[in-house]
Symmetry: C2
Subunit: 125 residues, 2 copies
DNA sequence: ATTACTTTTGCAACCAAGTTGCATTAAGTA
DNA sequence: TACTTAATGCAACTTGGTTGCAAAAGTAAT
């Protein structure tokens, strides 16, 4: 069960994801919105947006949670699966629209994969 | 700077990695060794072993840190880079010796990658 | 507009993983 | 054995994230 009421806080978060094609971490959002809403609210809205297929989440190399807009997903299924890139210089994270081939692994059933590429972004090169 | 003195605690941890080809999480080690040594000691030894190229570490899907034996690495360089597998049923994690092809990404320099495959292990299928 | 109902929020307290500072212990060495 | 310094234990702390509960605010019907 996702978003049911379009509250001010929900609108604020939706606007952030609309205008931003990069990923954004929970920590960044908490800092950015610390005057506008409580961190508990942020975590709870993010969870609802994820359940609705509006955003997806993933962990970065330090175990912090990041969020980004989904494309073509719904409450029924998350189909927008892709690798992510993190710049080890400026910390920026973004979604990559490339396809990484995951080979078959004998004796194991792979349900999904999490790929994080780490290096330097365009502006830090 | 890594391990300088072969203490009892260091030997204990080394023995665990020797007899275990699976990965093991910091949390598991803390629980396993709670009668033998302090959790701070465990974290500090793991860091030293990693600096010596004896073990490598990575994050699982929940942001917990795991460790496993390195093959062919040294204090100079970690060359044993490979994907990891986590069973979503029993939680077991292990190192995969398969090669995943990472494509070139335009305008970015990829230094290394972190690949986690999630599914069911042999005994949970 | 008022009411009634239910979701959403804020707040404070909590939790778990991991880190830090510092006094004490114990390897390594001569 | 004595000396030096790496390693450890312990308590306190930090950080990211969660929970319970009362108060506030959407939504829809009246
Ligand atoms: Mn993404
Ligand atoms: Mn490994
Ligand atoms: Zn950058
Ligand atoms: Zn399993």
């Amino acid at each position: 069960m996702g978003v049911i009421r379009k509250t001010k806080s929900v609108e604020t978060l939706l606007a952030i994801f609309e205008n931003n094609k990069d990923a954004v971490s929970a920590v960044q959002l908490i800092d950015l919105l610390k005057e506008k809403m409580n961190k508990t609210t942020i975590y709870r809205i993010l969870e609802r947006l994820q359940n609705d297929g509006i955003v997806h989440s993933f962990m970065d190399k330090d175990g912090l949670k990041w969020y980004a807009t989904c494309h073509g997903c719904s409450a029924k299924q998350h189909i927008d699966i892709h690798p992510h890139f993190q710049c080890q210089n400026c910390g920026k994270v973004d979604c990559l629209s490339v396809d990484i081939k995951i080979p078959m692994i004998p004796n194991r059933q792979i349900n999904f994969s999490q790929v994080l590429l780490i290096g330097k972004c365009e502006s830090c090169l």
